[in-house]
Symmetry: C2
Subunit: 165 residues, 2 copies
């Protein structure tokens, strides 16, 4: 029964999309409720500041565009401060508003692509794996990237929530 | 083409299982490398101790058994200390070895069930949603529980990793 089968696939996609969007929504709600002063607080003594983790998440999600083969990056300049370097209070950083805007913009664009994919498109290889390796390890697909990044948001949310005394 | 379609569904399941097992593997590796003394350290000053988070994760995964409809709980006594109460150094706790054993046992059993499910079984409702609500919100299925708990492991891994100076 092709109809039922298609529906099963679509239900997988819907459930995965729900998890992705829920994860983004929780992080966005967290970031939207902070004052600029709070963004400069570390999550714990001697650990990353909140602003660093916001920039880090925005940069990592921006990197998903070419990784998923869905387009060019919009914010490659974030990498130097938020991906390849540790948090450094001496570094001049974009404002929380700019970073929130990047985070929201990138996620909206990514999510639009994800919503448009067919089940088969979810299972295509991501661009960091060669066609040869993908033939041996077909789980290294776009879905695995989305699941991994969803977990990554959760990983940092667990840290962010600690900033409150 | 039913063959291709079945393969698509199975590839979804395999990729989701890979993410679940990877997440468990990272946490288990973390817990296996700690001394008993280290288990008593808080992840940050005034925050949960590592032993509490191990017990919490073991209890939450034990609760997945009835939630997924895959069997009875094995460690319901963990709830009082690790789910319904905050971390309390005055509480007598099981040893790290006992908690590691519970964590491993529960995950092995859960994972065995997950491996046995057909794609359709992944999409059945979980037991915390009524049949009526499930008809309106079909994403409240077993898959959503597994994705949510996978994120939950990541959430606490982000915290656990902070304990190192």
């Amino acid at each position: 029964m092709p109809t039922t089968t298609t529906s099963t696939q679509e239900q997988f996609v819907k459930t995965i999309l729900f998890s992705w969007e829920q994860s983004l929504g929780q992080a966005s709600a967290f970031f939207s409720n902070l004052t600029d002063e709070e963004f400069l607080r570390p999550i714990a003594p001697g650990k990353n500041r909140i602003i660093y983790l916001l920039g880090h998440l925005a940069a990592v999600h921006d990197r998903m565009m070419p990784l998923l083969g869905t387009g060019e990056r919009q914010y490659p300049h974030l990498d130097e401060t938020f991906v390849t370097s540790p948090d450094n209070p001496a570094t001049l950083m974009p404002s929380p508003d700019e970073l929130r805007h990047a985070w929201t913009t990138v996620n909206n664009e990514l999510t639009q692509h994800l919503r448009d994919w067919t089940p088969e498109e979810w299972l295509q290889r991501h661009t960091a794996v060669s066609a040869e390796d993908f033939a041996k390890e077909p789980h290294r697909n776009r879905l695995s990237v989305v699941l991994s990044r969803t977990r990554h948001v959760g990983y940092h949310m667990g840290q962010l929530i600690l900033y409150k005394k």
